[in-house]
Symmetry: C2
Subunit: 268 residues, 2 copies
Amino acid sequence: MTFREKFTPAAEKNNSWLCLGLDLDPEKVPEKFRKNTKGLLEFCGMVVEATKDLVSAYKPNIAFFEALGAEGLELLGKTMALIPSGIPVILDAKRGDIGNTSAKYAKAAFEGFGADAVTVNPYMGSDCVEPFLSYKDKFVFLLVLTSNKGAADFEQLRTADGESVYMKVAAKIKEWNRFGNLGAVIGATKAADLGKIRELLRDEIFLVPGLGTQGGDLDASVKNCFLYNGLGTFNVARDILYAGPSAEDIRAKAVQYRDLLNRSLKGS
Amino acid sequence: MTFREKFTPAAEKNNSWLCLGLDLDPEKVPEKFRKNTKGLLEFCGMVVEATKDLVSAYKPNIAFFEALGAEGLELLGKTMALIPSGIPVILDAKRGDIGNTSAKYAKAAFEGFGADAVTVNPYMGSDCVEPFLSYKDKFVFLLVLTSNKGAADFEQLRTADGESVYMKVAAKIKEWNRFGNLGAVIGATKAADLGKIRELLRDEIFLVPGLGTQGGDLDASVKNCFLYNGLGTFNVARDILYAGPSAEDIRAKAVQYRDLLNRSLKGS
């Protein structure tokens, strides 16, 4: 089953375009959970249980697990195993290296962790992305225009032909997407640019971070993402994960975001 | 002790500007080693023992260890522990994410693995690099111009002012390097560009991959790297690691590269 074949039914079944970012930070986990592997896994289990009918995807960010050492990566594997098989898992890893090395990263993400999709950094170009794309049933979200302020440094640089670096990345997505398994990461903080990228990439799935704590523009980014019957999944992490000590708190915040997204979508 | 305080004496003591890349690939490890964690650690131990007086740094690429799962990351930790404390370890990870997430990657690299330096991908800009730089005794090698052909896709794009993306990254290194702990990755396959970047970044340490299997230009890249009394460490991985079944084979190939680098340096 391809990522798309998993993602669309999950989104439709749960009536949700929300992606829940699993940014596991022991310092923010409610006090009632012990800060060891067992306690953190219980917390992750509670989160998944409380939200599995409310999301279109989960997106664990591997950085948070790496920071806990080899045990943290075991915890990531166990957390991913708790996610119902019908809901796609996007491993947010922002990997990328020369070909033979990217192949190792792809193996780790897709075979080792069994992720359905992975985020990849485009800086090093085609041969850094190819080994990921060769897993045709898997999916790659390539960073195009990120939600942070540092996006201005290089992503938004003007190129000699009057375009910008991130539009060049978007154009390469169109060129490289021969298996239909390549999408784009575009921050909700850049809603107008998101629309411009959608003009070019009409069939590609977008992963849109930057709502919630980062303060992106929900209405405009939803509207622009879903133009031309495009699809996207909107990530919120901290704002939901650490909404309160109980499963109900987390569930309530996830419901709130799901509904906000759906209202924006109906209004657009 | 800062990275620089460790690197320069190591290079001088071993009379070497060679960096040995630890790209551990079980399929290429000599047959006499079992392909389990224990056997692979024995291989890594043999490599370090055979080369520790011949190198200025070691550079394990984390991708190869990630591909072996959580056990692989334990193996990485154990391999790094075998490296004499006087020789700096550059963890080649090409990480980078928004600020709070990059902080987790920095913690994993510097506190978890105890690396002296880490490679970072610049695409997402300043706030993606800052959390790494805040470890003032550690060191960051920022990707500027990589050795692979995909470098042409985005790194070498012309910018509106007639420059190129990679020169913009180089310029930001100059701006961001207020603690003296930021260097650059520039491929030996781009020797002329390396010289142009050295014109701008005269005090920064360069990490130069792309010799050996990738076929970079040794003479020209050494000459350009060491202009203005600049320093650099030249990475070779596969060509040395898998030179043959015995410690002597590995040592002989490392000696050969060390000497080639020294001859280029004297000739320049």
